[in-house]
């Protein structure tokens, strides 16, 4: 195996960007989705309409934003709106795609960002969902991104902050009153996953270069659906890496920090 010249985090950002199509209306959550969205805008999707729950519609920021409410979005902004307004957009079903992180995702794509352990007496108190519940409830499709390990991929999340396919039954979302179609893809540091159309169980779509089905399954807390044919995820091109590093995140706020943290973790 050739040592990749890019980090797993960069791979996720590039793959995430590719999932956003030009001309779509995308409601973006915090973290890696922010990087991926700006990457898409700078590469194949210059007409992507990026919305943040802070009320920013049509972001074309020239400096790297550090949070969804960052005032860096004011520069080049198409529409300065409000939370009532943009979260309201979601309810009308006009948002093509939502893009979310989280702390846990289960076999049916339900996301937990609230607690690890019992709700009443949590082992780890997480931030809570913010606007993620709305995005996951209403966007036509949702992309989820998370680092891949057993702890983060339990069979059942401790708390459903943002609904995926709920219990996986065919009409679960519709019965609950949700208008969006649910999770479409899960992008991790190992693979891209999607969901079986009938059972709504998570399924391997493509494996990142050098990763095997066993690698992924062994770091997943439930049984993945493995289709007969599993593609290899196309690695970032040189051009993609150049844009990501020089234009999207030139100060390395996302890319370097992640690398540093990972180094710290590995060292401990």
């Amino acid at each position: 195996m050739i040592e990749p010249t890019y980090s797993a985090y960069e791979m996720m950002a590039v793959v995430g960007a590719r999932e956003l199509n030009d001309g779509e209306v995308a409601f973006i959550g915090t973290g890696l989705p922010m990087l991926a969205a700006q990457m898409a805008l700078y590469t194949h999707a210059p007409r992507l309409v990026i919305i943040y729950e802070s009320g920013y519609v049509g972001c074309h920021n020239i400096h790297t934003a550090r949070l969804v409410g960052d005032i860096r979005f004011m520069k080049g902004l198409t529409m300065l709106s409000s939370m009532v307004d943009v979260l309201g957009f979601l309810q009308t079903g006009v948002i093509d795609v939502g893009f979310l992180g989280g702390a846990q995702v289960d076999q049916f794509g339900n996301i937990n960002a609230t607690v690890v352990g019992p709700y009443e007496k949590p082992l780890v108190r997480l931030p809570g969902g913010g606007g993620a519940n709305e995005i996951a409830s209403c966007a036509k499709r949702t992309i989820i991104t998370m680092n891949h390990d057993t702890r983060r991929f339990p069979k059942k999340v401790d708390y459903i902050t943002s609904p995926g396919y709920l219990d996986g039954s065919p009409d679960a979302r519709k019965k609950a009153g949700l208008i969006g179609d649910g999770p479409d893809k899960v992008i991790t540091d190992l693979a891209v996953l999607d969901f079986d159309e009938k059972t709504h169980r998570m399924r391997i779509e493509s494996l990142h270069p050098g990763i095997t089905v066993e690698d992924v399954q062994s770091r997943t807390g439930f049984e993945l659906v493995v289709p007969r044919r599993v593609e290899e995820t196309a690695p970032p091109t040189e051009e993609e890496l150049r844009i990501l590093r020089e234009a999207v995140d030139p100060t390395g706020f996302y890319i370097k920090r992640r690398a540093e943290r990972k180094a710290v973790r590995a060292g401990v």
Partner: protein
């Protein structure tokens, strides 16, 4: 006569404005995006040792974490408390994990629309989110329930109006008639401000009415909704105030790092809050060069401090 009356009757020194908030009050400090948050007010709440405050909010960050760590908050109804792209909120973690603080978890939109209902004078709002998830499973049924819509019979979420005792909002400008004029994002600040029984506004500066009238679309609240005003330049630090100064990311990261331990958090409070008498002291501690470095660039509305040091 509503809350009209001359601005001079509404103007209070920061310490007196904070003094109005008695222990046990419910509060909301509009905060989203590390910007236009009444952080000086929050520091003074901590200096004055407020207790048993009931916190309402949607997306909250360092502001909420600091109040919680300092022991000011006994319960909260929230959408989110965390440090975006930095990590978890350590004081919130300790308080919630130990059970010392009672939390009702909703989503940002649920909270935003509860403030909206409060500010619109209606008892509740119907919305389409929250359903199916554990947000509704663990909701307090006195605050958030599912209902059947009139007319269509559709299932919908009913979210109850909130009316905090106090909303404390930081803005760029208040005019001499008490009208509130801002630059940059609005988030759900207006809905929060309008929901409260008493609205306290801290501002960078007082301006003439003619200035406000030259751009009336930037007026977010008329003076008759404002109860008290305190002039607190640089009052949002370590957060930003669009067009005036940027967020102080280094300070925020320092806080996030120190707050990870009780001792570290205590030493942060000691250094920046308990050992400072007031905001002038606080600003002196930060130092002139830091404050100059954060000044907004005229064409951007924020500074390029972080690009410069990268």
């Amino acid at each position: 006569m509503g809350r009209t009356g001359n601005l001079k009757d509404k103007l209070l020194p920061l310490k007196e404005a904070v003094g109005l908030v008695s222990d046990g009050s419910s509060i909301v400090c509009p905060s989203f995006g590390y910007e236009k948050v009444a952080f000086a007010f929050i520091r003074e709440l901590i200096r004055q040792g407020k207790k048993d405050l009931y916190l309402y909010g949607s997306g909250m960050n360092v502001d909420a974490d600091m109040l919680i760590g300092a022991g000011c908050i006994s319960a909260a109804e929230i959408g989110h408390i965390g440090f975006e792209n930095i990590g978890l909120a350590p004081c919130f973690r300790r308080a919630a994990e130990s059970g010392k603080m009672k939390v009702e978890d909703y989503s940002n939109f649920i909270m935003t629309m509860r403030f909206f209902a409060g500010g619109m004078g209606i008892p509740f709002m119907p919305i389409r989110t929250g359903m199916g998830s554990d947000v509704i499973a663990y909701a307090n049924p006195d605050h958030v329930i599912e209902m059947d819509s009139p007319f269509t019979g559709e299932k919908i979420l009913a979210v109850k109006a909130v009316h905090p005792d106090f909303a404390i909002l930081h803005v760029q400008r208040v005019d001499t008639e008490g009208n509130v004029s801002i630059e940059g994002p609005k988030y759900d600040n207006v809905e929060k401000a309008k929901s409260a029984k008493c609205l306290i506004v801290t501002c960078e500066e007082i301006v003439e009415p003619e200035f406000v009238q030259s751009q009336p679309e930037k007026t977010i609240l008329p003076g008759f909704l404002v109860d008290h005003v305190a002039v607190v330049p640089f009052g949002a630090h370590p957060y930003a105030c669009y067009g005036y100064y940027d967020y102080d990311w280094e300070h925020i990261e320092t806080y996030a790092q120190q707050a990870k331990t009780l001792e570290g958090f205590q030493s942060y409070l000691d250094e920046f809050i308990y050992s400072t008498e007031d905001e002038t002291d606080y600003q002196e501690k930060l130092g002139l060069q830091k404050i100059l470095g954060l000044r907004s660039n005229a064409s951007l509305g924020y500074s390029t401090y972080y690009e410069a040091i990268a």
